[in-house]
Structures are given as structure tokens and as C-alpha cells.
């Protein structure tokens, strides 16, 4: 990993404690981490920095994760293909999430009741290895 260019991950999460633990974990795994606190913020940073992967929460103020994703998909070629991992906790929006996920091949969603940080890291590595 030392000589390789670090892969960049954008973490979008409105909850500071979660943002912090995700960021720390990704750093510890050797990724370069960008942080955003809502969908709008995330969209702006993503368009500017073009990260290798985006990890995003769904329910957030200002702009939610799904809207951000849909905007990115329409924005440009990079945005259309960048892998996005949605973190969900089986909220009321599950049906909507399922529908959107089925329309976006490079999107994966994790149900929070099943995941741990370890599971997220595994998923990220899987995605980046393929790309």
C-alpha cells in the first residue's frame, strides 16, 4: 500500500459520531477519506474531488443520500459509474431505496441491523478491487 496511490473514499453522514468512526476506520484501513455532512455537501465535494467510492447515509438534512446519488448519476460520466454504498437502517424509505438500487447497478445497500464496520470495509474492498 505504501507506494500505491491511496484510494479516496467520500463518507457522507450527518451524525458526527458516525462520521468520525467511519472516517477513522477507513483511514486505519489505508484509505484517503473525504467527509461531508449532508447530500448537498456530499454532491459538491464529490463533483470536485471525484472519489473512488462514496459511502453515504440516506436520511440527512438539506439533501438526502438518494437525491445526491440521483444527481450524481445525471451529472457526468464519472458520476454515472462511481460505486456508491448506501447505509440504511430499514427506515420507512426501504421500498424507495430498493427501487432506486435496482435502477443503479453500481449501488449496494447495507442494512444497518446486520452490519458492523468490518462488514462495510469488506464491501468497500470488494468494490474497489473490481473497479
Amino acid at each position: 500500500m505504501k507506494n500505491e496511490k491511496k484510494k479516496t473514499i467520500l463518507v457522507v453522514e450527518d451524525e458526527p459520531a458516525l462520521l468520525k468512526v467511519y472516517a477513522e476506520q477507513m483511514n486505519a484501513e489505508g484509505f484517503s477519506v473525504l467527509q461531508a455532512i449532508n447530500g448537498q455537501d456530499g454532491f459538491d465535494i464529490a463533483m470536485k474531488e471525484k472519489p473512488d467510492l462514496i459511502l453515504t447515509d440516506i436520511l440527512m438534512p438539506v439533501m438526502d443520500g438518494l437525491t445526491m446519488m440521483q444527481k450524481l448519476r445525471k451529472a457526468d460520466a464519472w458520476g454515472k459509474n462511481v460505486p456508491i454504498i448506501l447505509l440504511t437502517n430499514l427506515s420507512a424509505d426501504e421500498e424507495k431505496i430498493k427501487r432506486i438500487v435496482s435502477e443503479n447497478l453500481s449501488v449496494y445497500y447495507l442494512v444497518k441491523m446486520n452490519w458492523s464496520l468490518g462488514a462495510i470495509v469488506t464491501k468497500i474492498k470488494e468494490q474497489l478491487a473490481v473497479v
Binding site: A17, V21, E24, L90, M113
Partner: protein
């Protein structure tokens, strides 16, 4: 004989002869006298004879006279006899009359006695009559009072029925409407004149919210089974103007004395508002759960980081404590997830994710996941499955929740070393399983245990949200009272059903069904 004797006798005979001659002279003298006398006598006799003749003549006359008299007398005697006879008859008559008189007298005496008795009876009767009259008077008074009360009751009932918040409709045993209150008019849009006497099914129609198809005829079921029935959730009433409103409903058979079914009362109400409130409540629960989940997630993730040593090396004791925190936190997450599931079901946003599965493999897998719990309580599990002919389209997550909830409950409420038995079978519409008439073809699964059972008084509440029976609460404080509610909600949503039979301290059998073919068709169409 000597000679002396002979001489003497001759002398004697001369003397005697002399004597005799003398006597003869005497007698001749006497005879002359007598003759003289006789002649005298004869003359006398002639006189007498003449006298006698005269007398005889006189006597003859007298005799004639006597004869005539006798004849007269005879006539008189006859008359007398006649009279006597008459007299006799009269006398007899007199006797008879006397006897009759006596009889009559006796009879009269009897009649008199009877009359006397009657009289006293009459006196009594009169008294009784008076008593009865008095009583009647009281009764009439009471009846008047009762009639008034009844009239008041009827008016009250009418007023209650009219002003009651629920629509009330009653049918006779043939299903013809015999009562339709004001609210029923409001809710359905039909006037009572339009519905009275008509069969309910012609006008009052219910459809399923999900597919707009006619819902299960719970009224017919109530009339058929004689049991109270409830309308399925998410049923809409088709109003006269064609619009649809959500309603909740129950049908209760009316019985006369014992067992004779004479009709059915249907109570239903517009639950539009309730649904709105429910929706708001569910949204609130959903939002709150989400908010609760974030902190729980943070706790979980940081605990994980600590355990991994990202916060520096930790001692065994610290590890033990962190694990306690994690487990408690996990319980909280589970509860929140349950609440979320409920609110999703209640909000109707629970769409099924149908995949074809081998249902028996599936059931076995769920049991395998619970193996640790069975072992911990040394429970003997028996399994009996039917021959599966084809795979079934079903939402695995939903079915898992149903089955694992029921088995977990069985484990929880069965004592150590108890028995749990799992059975599956294919069932047909109309089949009767433990007093339940199946509404559709499908799969039936039963979970039976020999645990504490459900008290009869609380059996009607067990599918209610947050309800826990007293004995369950006493034995296990950690239940949420949501498991069976979720089971029922999911099965309602799936078009299945759940019911049970239970005896306190003996055990419980839960049955649940879910449709096999319907789901497949739905998937085939989609």
C-alpha cells in the same frame, strides 16, 4: 147236678115267670099310657108341623129377602172391594208418595248440604276473587308501570341506536335487512327505505383495499358458524355513490333462547380518521425509532472499535464489560427494529419480496437457528412435514419473522425438558382446522408446546399490540408484547391467518396459514 138244685130251679122259674107276667102287665099298662101319650104327642107334633110350615114359609120369604139383601150386599161388597182396592192404591200411592217424599226430602237435604257447601265455597271464592281482584289491580298497575318503562326503554334504545357512533345493521336469518340505524345511513349513503327488507349482500358491499376484490363475507360466516366474526383488516366499504371508505366491522349472530339462530347484527364504522391517526402514529414511531437507532448504532460501532483494540489495548475485564454494553445495546436495536417493522406494516409500505422457496427446508433452517435455545432448555422437538410438491413464492424475511416468533414464544413459555412439536400440511379452502374455516388453499403450520398456556380470560387479547398475559409477564419480564402482533400483522398482509387453542398450565397450539397458489399467481402476472 144234683136233684135238689133241680127242684129249686123249677120253683124259681115259676116265681120268675109270675114276676115276669106282672112286669108284662106293668109294661102293657105303661105302654097303654105311652100310646095315649104318643097320640097326644102326635097331635102336638102336627101342630108343631103346621107351625113349622108357616115358619118355613116365613123363612123362605126371609131367605128370599136375605138373598136379595145378600145380592145387594154382594154388590156393596164389590163396590166396597173396589173402593178398598182404590183405597189400597191410594194408600199405596200414599206410601209411595211418602217414600218419594222421603227421598225428595233426603235429596233436598243433600242438595241443601251441597248448597251450603257451595255457599261456603262461594264465600271463599268471593273472598279469593276479591283477593285476585286486588292482586290484578296491583298487577295492572305494575304492568302499566312496566309498559311505561318498556316504552321508555324502547325510546331510549331507539335513541341510542340512532345516535350511536357506529353504524348498526341487523339481518334476519335469511340475510334480509331488518334494521338500519341513522349512522348506517350516513356511512353507506343508502336510506333505510332503500335497504329495509333487502338482502344485505345486494347493497352493502365490502372490498379489499389491496385489490378492490370483494372481501371475505364475514356476515355469511357468522350466520353459518354461529360465531362472532370480524372483518379482515384493510377492508373498504363501497358506498352508494361508488366511493370507498375504510371500515372496521364485526358481525354477531342473534340467538333466541338456546341455539336458535334468528339473525345477525352487524356493527361497522368509518375508520378514515382512525386510519389517519394510525398513520400519524406509525410515522411518529418510525421517525422516533430512526432517531433511537442512530445513538444505538453509534454505541455499537464504538464498542466494536474498542474490542478490536483501536482505542488501545484492553484488559479481559474491560472486554467483558464492553461485551455487556454491546449485548444490551443489541437488545435495544432489536426492539427498535421490531417497532420499525410494525410501523412499516401499519403504514402499508411493507411490500413483499417474493422468492420461490422449499418451505420445508425453510422451516428446518429456522429451527436450526434456534438450536441453541432448544438445547439451553433441553426441549424435545418433534417435526412432522407434509410432502412438498412444489416450491412456494413467499417473502422469506416475513415468513421467518412469523415462524421464529411463534417458535421462540413456545421455547420461552415451555418449562425445561418440555416438548415442542412442529407440523406442516397442505390445506384446502373450506377445511375446518380447530374451529377455523380456512379461507384459502395454502400451507398450514402448527407449533404446539406443553408450556404455561394462555389464561382463557386473556385469550382474546393476545394479538393486541403490547399485550402480555399475566402468567407470561410473571414468568418472563423481558417480552415486548409485540411478537404475536407482528405475526398477525404480517399474516394479514400476506393473506394468511393465525389462531390458536390453549389451556392454562397444559400448553398451546398455534396454527398459521399462508396462501401458496395466490402468491404464485401474483408473481406470475408480475
Amino acid at each position: 147236678m144234683d136233684k135238689k138244685t133241680g127242684i129249686s130251679s123249677s120253683k124259681e122259674t115259676i116265681r120268675r115267670l109270675k114276676l115276669l107276667a106282672k112286669e108284662k102287665e106293668n109294661i102293657r099298662g105303661k105302654l097303654v099310657v105311652t100310646a095315649k101319650q104318643l097320640s097326644l104327642k102326635a097331635r102336638e107334633l102336627a101342630v108343631i108341623a103346621r107351625e113349622k110350615e108357616s115358619v118355613r114359609k116365613k123363612l123362605a120369604i126371609v131367605a128370599k129377602q136375605l138373598k136379595s139383601k145378600a145380592a145387594q150386599l154382594a154388590v156393596t161388597a164389590k163396590e166396597k172391594e173396589l173402593i178398598r182396592g182404590k183405597l189400597l192404591v191410594t194408600a199405596r200411592n200414599f206410601v209411595t208418595t211418602a217414600k218419594e217424599k222421603e227421598d225428595v226430602r233426603k235429596k233436598l237435604a243433600i242438595v241443601a248440604t251441597q248448597l251450603k257447601s257451595k255457599a261456603s265455597q262461594l264465600a271463599l271464592t268471593a273472598e279469593e276473587k276479591e283477593g285476585v281482584e286486588k292482586e290484578l289491580l296491583v298487577t295492572v298497575g305494575e304492568l302499566n308501570f312496566k309498559a311505561e318503562e318498556l316504552a321508555i326503554t324502547i325510546v331510549k334504545q331507539e335513541a341510542i341506536l340512532a345516535s350511536i357512533g357506529d353504524a348498526v345493521m341487523a339481518c334476519d336469518k335469511d340475510g334480509n335487512i331488518i334494521l338500519f340505524n341513522r349512522k348506517a345511513v350516513d356511512v353507506t349513503g343508502f336510506s333505510d327505505k332503500e335497504v329495509m327488507g333487502k338482502h344485505y349482500s345486494h347493497l352493502i358491499k365490502f372490498v379489499r383495499e389491496s385489490n378492490d376484490q370483494p372481501s371475505h363475507d364475514f356476515i355469511a360466516e357468522a350466520m353459518k358458524t354461529g360465531q362472532k366474526t370480524e372483518m379482515a383488516d384493510n377492508t373498504l366499504l363501497l358506498k352508494k355513490d361508488g366511493s370507498r371508505i375504510p371500515v372496521a366491522d364485526s358481525a354477531e349472530p342473534i340467538r333466541y333462547k338456546k341455539g336458535v339462530l334468528i339473525g345477525c347484527v352487524i356493527v361497522f364504522r368509518d375508520i378514515t380518521k382512525e386510519k389517519e391517526i394510525d398513520q400519524a402514529k406509525s410515522e411518529f414511531v418510525s421517525l422516533t425509532s430512526h432517531q433511537l437507532k442512530t445513538p444505538a448504532t453509534i454505541v455499537s460501532l464504538y464498542a466494536e472499535q474498542l474490542l478490536k483494540g483501536y482505542g488501545g489495548p484492553i484488559t479481559e475485564k474491560q472486554k467483558e464489560y464492553i461485551n455487556e454494553i454491546r449485548e444490551a445495546n443489541q437488545r435495544m436495536i432489536d426492539i427498535v427494529n421490531t417497532l420499525l417493522n410494525i410501523s412499516r406494516i401499519e403504514m402499508g409500505i411493507f411490500t413483499m419480496d417474493l422468492v420461490p422457496i422449499d418451505i420445508i427446508d425453510f422451516l428446518k433452517n429456522v429451527l436450526k437457528q434456534l438450536q441453541t435455545d432448544f438445547k439451553a432448555k433441553q426441549i424435545v422437538v418433534t417435526e412432522e412435514y407434509h410432502n412438498l410438491s412444489q416450491s412456494i413464492w413467499i417473502d422469506k424475511l416475513m415468513l421467518n419473522m412469523v415462524f421464529s416468533n411463534l417458535v421462540s414464544n413456545a421455547i420461552r413459555y415451555t418449562p425445561k425438558g418440555g416438548k415442542i412439536s412442529i407440523k406442516s400440511s397442505a390445506v384446502n379452502k373450506g377445511e375446518k382446522i380447530n374451529n377455523k374455516v380456512l379461507k384459502d388453499d395454502g400451507i398450514l403450520v402448527s407449533v404446539s408446546d406443553n408450556g404455561c398456556g394462555i389464561p382463557i380470560s386473556q385469550q382474546n387479547k393476545i394479538f393486541t399490540k403490547f399485550f402480555r398475559s399475566d402468567n407470561a409477564r410473571n414468568q418472563h419480564t423481558d417480552g415486548t408484547g409485540l411478537g404475536l402482533y407482528i405475526v398477525k400483522s404480517i399474516l394479514d398482509h400476506m393473506g394468511g391467518d393465525v389462531w390458536f387453542s390453549s389451556k392454562e398450565n397444559e400448553g398451546t397450539i398455534f396454527y398459521f396459514t399462508f396462501p401458496s397458489n395466490k402468491v404464485k399467481q401474483k408473481k406470475d402476472i408480475g
